[in-house]
């Protein structure tokens, strides 16, 4: 008998795509998707059940469908779709609590996969260059998505202690980029002029959207217990990433950053939460050797390749590589031609 997988948050783009992907896996019998709003578009073989994970009704869904694998990916990073920070927090934290409570009551449950994020490590100037999974954040995130993630991870660890028979895989994924991704990070890079923090250059790692779906599928079927950092190989500096997009930057002194961020947030151009601004200032690096050696997953895209694919979807910027190369050719040609 194959697996029965329950996926939370299927109405969001990545959740829906993952549910469809995992439904094609031969080891999976059935996929049940839950969310508070019905998904847009075709869900393929996925059976959608409209249920709120903040509500005990989820217990009945898990029991009634004989679910043995739960993939929790409805921890939202933006308040945008869920309407305000309060409801986002409630959805993330209370939703996870309810879901885990339901999981604890389900004797048939074998696997739990939670999509977390590398934002749990925070960002500050005293961070080590590369975080490994056992390290605690140097400065605990105090607000927003990062704090939600820390709390969600705390509940998941508690669940793992209470149900040692369940394999719990927690994936701390780096910022996901790709042509289809709409996140605070991709919104930021889609700005026509990209504001940066004057005198700081953040180190960044990216994960391509197909790699994210692939690693979730791998974690669902492989059933490896533990916490894993997931990111593409290599590091890009923020300045380097912006140059690769060919967009101009607007350096803002550190003291003006927070007021500028709230201004940008008000005009809804992009989401500049305090933890994202800390990330854009100091950056973050995570070590992915455990992903390779223990989880046994190898991303297809490096950080640079993932970002390049994302950049291609946006069209060239003002100082695109092609234009710079053309000017270089012109200058070299003019000088060479004069001599010859």
């Amino acid at each position: 008998m194959g697996r029965v997988v329950l996926v939370t948050g299927v109405s969001r783009d990545l959740g829906g795509r993952f549910a469809r992907l995992v439904a094609t896996d031969p080891s999976v019998d059935r996929v049940v998707g839950v969310d508070v709003v019905p998904p847009r578009g075709d869900m393929g073989d996925v059976r959608f059940i409209r249920a709120d994970i903040r509500n005990p009704v989820i217990t009945k869904v898990i029991a009634g469908e004989d679910v043995d694998t739960v993939v929790h990916m409805s921890v939202a990073s933006t308040p945008g779709t869920s309407g305000g920070r309060t409801s986002m927090k409630e959805f993330n934290v209370i939703g996870t609590m309810q879901l885990l409570a339901a999981c604890q009551k389900a004797p048939g449950l074998k696997h739990l996969v939670v999509k977390s994020s590398t934002t749990v490590y925070g960002s500050c100037s005293r961070d080590p260059a590369m975080f490994i999974e056992d390290m605690a954040p140097v400065r605990m995130p105090k607000s927003g998505f990062a704090k939600d993630t820390v709390e969600v991870e705390g509940y998941v660890r508690g669940f793992a202690r209470r149900r040692p028979d369940v394999t719990v895989t927690m994936l701390r994924t780096a910022n996901t980029v790709g042509p289809m991704v709409n996140s605070p990070m991709t919104q930021y890079f889609r700005l026509p002029v990209i504001p940066t923090v004057l005198g700081f250059d953040a180190r960044m790692q990216f994960l391509h959207e197909t790699d994210l779906l692939e690693v979730l599928r791998h974690a669902t079927t492989a059933g490896v217990h533990g916490t894993f950092n997931i990111a593409g190989d290599g590091v890009l500096m923020l300045s380097q990433a912006v140059r690769r997009l060919g967009r101009p930057t607007l350096p803002i002194p550190a003291f003006a950053v927070s007021s500028f961020g709230s201004l940008i947030r008000q005009v809804r151009a992009a989401d500049f939460s305090p933890e994202q601004m800390a990330f854009l200032t100091y950056g973050r690096g995570v070590d992915t050797s455990r992903m390779r050696n223990v989880l046994g997953f190898e991303p297809d895209y490096t950080t640079a390749a993932a970002f390049e694919d994302f950049g291609r979807s946006m069209g060239p910027g003002l100082v695109s590589p092609e234009r710079v190369a053309a000017v270089e050719g012109l200058v070299a040609g003019a000088l060479g031609g004069e001599r010859g």
Binding site: S125, R126, P128, M130, G199, R203, M237, V242, V331, E338
Partner: protein
Amino acid sequence: MADAEIIPLGTRGRPGRGSGSSNPSAAARNLVGGAARKEPSSIKPKPAPAEAPLADRPTSGTTATDRAPGAGIPIGDWLGAFSSAAKEVFGDSWEPRLAESLALLRRRLTGDYSVDEYGFDQEVTERFFLAAIRPIARKWFRVEVRGAENIPTEGGALVVSNHSGTVPMDGMMTAVSIHDHTGRHLRPLGADLVFKLPIVGEMARKGGATLACNDDAERMLSNGELVGVWPEGFKGIGKPYSERYKLQRFGRGGFVSAAMRTGVPIIPCSVVGAEEIYPLVGNIPSLARLLGVPYIPITPLFPLLGPLGLVPLPSKWLIEFGEPIRTDSYDEGAADDPMLVFNVTDQVRETIQQTLYTLLMKRRSVFS
């Protein structure tokens, strides 16, 4: 090329430096000579006949009004001038070298370069940072390196050095000396404050530095990097001139346990000369506390002379690398034995202190 549009450059034929002001600059007035200086209004643009007597003077040479706007010069001449200038700068093989420089510029502009996980940008370090520091090391401080053969040419190693000079100039000089003698990049471990400061932190990461913590140090050492550490920290760099060449406490010996865990050799490095570049004669602790920095230096020239006081005194530098102290012979768990760690720390400290005294004896005077 003939149909290229030519944009006039410079002052559009008016006197001055292109600032928009019609008054000529002091240098331009000097060129014109005595008569003109008495009545500056005579060089303002006016009908040609009035200019004639000036033009007759042999001293006047070219007056500001004689300069034609760029429109009169064909583009071929511009290119000719440019290529001969390039020949002057780059030598006979100017063409490939110019193309190389253009390619470098293009790579930088389009982000087509790679950095390692600590943010180390090898290209910018070699082409800009080291190239800028090298003349200072050679011409200004006349750095003399001894014992460069003690630096392993490959594999991880930990260079431990004394720290002095108010500004961490000794780290940069050590890095450039190591690169010139062995071709390896020194990866410095920097204090928290370095990475908190704007621009400084960014440049430090690009130059290969990372935070001085055990995680980063062990990670770098086990990847086979040549890591530099200055265990005295701010106690050493900000000590008064009267205590020069007296080593301060060597922290908690974290660098020794990092070397022991990774089994890499410790190379003691003694720098003589850095103490005299900015002799620290005073400090403003209250202002330093206010700004959140460890000290506000007062040197004989700073802040008395303002920005001029920032020019370091041209002391003569000696850098000596001592014999490597091996750490791979200790058994497992030695890094967690505080007594052993303290002993090795003291051994490194004593070696550097003794070498400092020997080097000071050898140096004839501070500036030669």
